[in-house]
Symmetry: C2
């Protein structure tokens, strides 16, 4: 069989620390590679035809590991959101995707199996094993059993990394008690919207913010008690009125984290899961009132989702598809078709323009 | 019996946020009050003759609750290092002291008993109960049993609040394992020096810093593995060479906290116990790299000592006097005589000038 297109997305140049990543300038769609599906050497591994890729805010951090003005080098990932021991070919953008195995020389998987995990953003991926190099859980591929017939795209969203982030972090760190007050920033995102629903299940009063009226409406649909647009309403004013807060789920950092520290109750828990306020504006925004943790006995947890995989993955894959099937957990997606849309999707997300989980459809099964 | 002097220390004026508290200007020694020891009405309470007062960095924070330029008002303590529900007469400076009961109408204590806790910095105090108002543990008086005949001054230091801060915080939050690396800032202080010794007991490699060669020598005497003067050696350089660190005991905030976040190992624990870098320079120094908690799975604990009193006080009062008697725990004191020295002692401590625990002797027993 003749080789066919195996298009991919590359980083052409590192964006400046205060730049948004522009398609064509920083990211580029490259449709020159080809692959012979029947004869490409697998060396004991397996060949995956990709179906969906997730677009996540953390992609931006990986671009920072490139040397400014020096494209196409291999680098150590220290300082990004991955453990420093990993080395990647950072010309390629990698992220969570799901695909179907079409050829295998490894007994771990057989053709027709669906696998999900971090892969190069390319139409086809070849992997040696479902195990991550060095046992790294961040690079493990999950073989997905799907008895509930959830759409495959959900496995890079609510049943994927964002869902795990919400579920593992909430179970491990929230120590939630009915009647407590939680504030969730970026509440309309895939992590925040799941956290909100977990908090409502646990009987908490939920305050949540988002950056547009459309998103605020979505928050209300999720059952949020106090939903507000942080661009038109001051976070500190809302928290002063509706707090003090017992839990803050932080996807933002900067001013929102400061406002939350100031509005925290005694023994509050702050779960830091992202810091998008600093991703495109140079360094992260500084925090000036961290001393508040002392007399309020606050605990701040850094949430790195893979740290908790061994503890929660079984219950996660059992519970979440069931909840979705029963309608107990809602989720939304914005699906665009074709890898040529990846650059625009990354940019829109960094600018906060998408309303639902951003997903790229690569191919039908 | 004729009334005798009952001298006290007052706050005359709130220091500006970037000022050090100057004796005479901001703090003042007032020897005008008198007390009739035999006839002063106790209203069912008891009269305490003070023996020692502790001088602690946190005194500075209490001055911040005064309105600038408006002395002598009652204020709510929100934003200081005490729970916001308390109200004090803030003309008086209060802090930890120990004294002997000389008259009592309350069955909780009898003449000759020694009591320790937060009291007005004055030669005599009258209290209604050993219980704090509203059950507040920060205002509880401890009736001190002293079978080991430890010097009474130690009960405002290594067997008092600083000792409890070190002991409770280490036991509750360090999750220390032999072979791990801990960094202790202000290692020569009463809290830091105790933490260092607890860490050595647990088999850790200890890095510690202080602000003078004399203090660094004291650190080495305590068995610190890597002791350095942060004024002449860059903290980040030391931590890069001797880390990564598994535990950071933070008394400082600001740059040292940033350097420690940068040098933290996976799953590091940061125990925030003070932020003296910001106490006399306006707001606390900002933290710009808090996002490091995410991919390193760092936990940050705010240590408010009284939060943990119910859990650890019994073992604390059993273990620590024994350790001191056996020479297993060393401590040092700088004792000055007379309440007229309080203003200078507060200033010297805020400037980092004292080498050992700062204590004011009020009277012989």
């Amino acid at each position: 069989m003749a080789p066919i297109r195996n298009a991919r997305v590359l980083i052409k140049e590192r964006p400046g620390d205060q730049d948004y990543p522009e398609p064509g300038k920083h990211t580029v769609y490259d449709e020159t590679p080809t692959i012979d599906l029947e004869n490409a050497p697998l060396n004991g591994g397996f060949l995956i035809k990709m179906l969906y890729f997730s677009i996540d805010p953390s992609i931006r951090g990986r671009m920072r590991t490139l040397e400014l003005g020096k494209p196409l080098v291999k680098v150590d990932l220290s300082g990004s959101d991955c453990p420093k021991s990993l080395t990647f070919d950072i010309r390629r953008i990698y992220n969570f995707g799901i695909g179907v195995v079409i050829r295998s020389e490894n007994s771990e998987v057989k053709p027709g199996d669906h696998v999900e995990g971090i892969m190069d953003i390319q139409e086809y991926n070849i992997r040696q094993s479902v195990k991550g190099p060095g046992g790294n859980p961040a690079l493990t591929l999950n073989v997905i059993d799907n008895p509930n017939k959830i759409p495959w795209s959900a496995f890079v969203g609510v049943v994927g990394m964002p869902g795990k982030t919400a579920y593992y972090g909430w179970k491990e760190f929230a120590h939630a008690k009915a009647g407590e007050v939680v504030y969730v920033s970026t509440g309309a995102g895939p992590v925040g919207s799941f956290v909100i629903q977990l908090a409502k299940k646990d009987g908490l009063k939920v305050i949540a913010s988002a950056g547009s009226e459309e998103k605020v409406k979505f928050l209300k649909d999720l059952g949020v008690d106090v939903a507000f647009n942080y661009k038109t309403t001051k976070t500190s004013d809302v928290l002063a009125k509706e707090g003090p807060i017992d839990i803050y789920w932080d996807n933002v950092g900067g001013e929102m984290l400061e406002a939350s520290l100031a509005a925290s109750n005694q023994r509050a828990r702050i779960i830091i899961c992202g810091a998008i306020s600093g991703y495109n504006s140079g360094n992260a925004q500084p925090i000036r009132n961290l001393f508040q943790v002392i007399y309020k006995s606050i605990t701040i947890y850094g949430l790195y989702v893979f740290e908790h995989d061994h503890k929660y993955r079984e219950e996660f894959y059992k519970n979440v598809p069931e909840w979705i099937t029963k309608g107990e957990i809602k989720y939304t997606e914005e699906v665009q078709e074709g890898l040529e849309k990846v650059g625009e999707a990354i940019l829109a997300q960094q600018k906060g323009q998408n309303v639902a989980k951003s997903v790229i459809k690569v191919a039908d099964e």
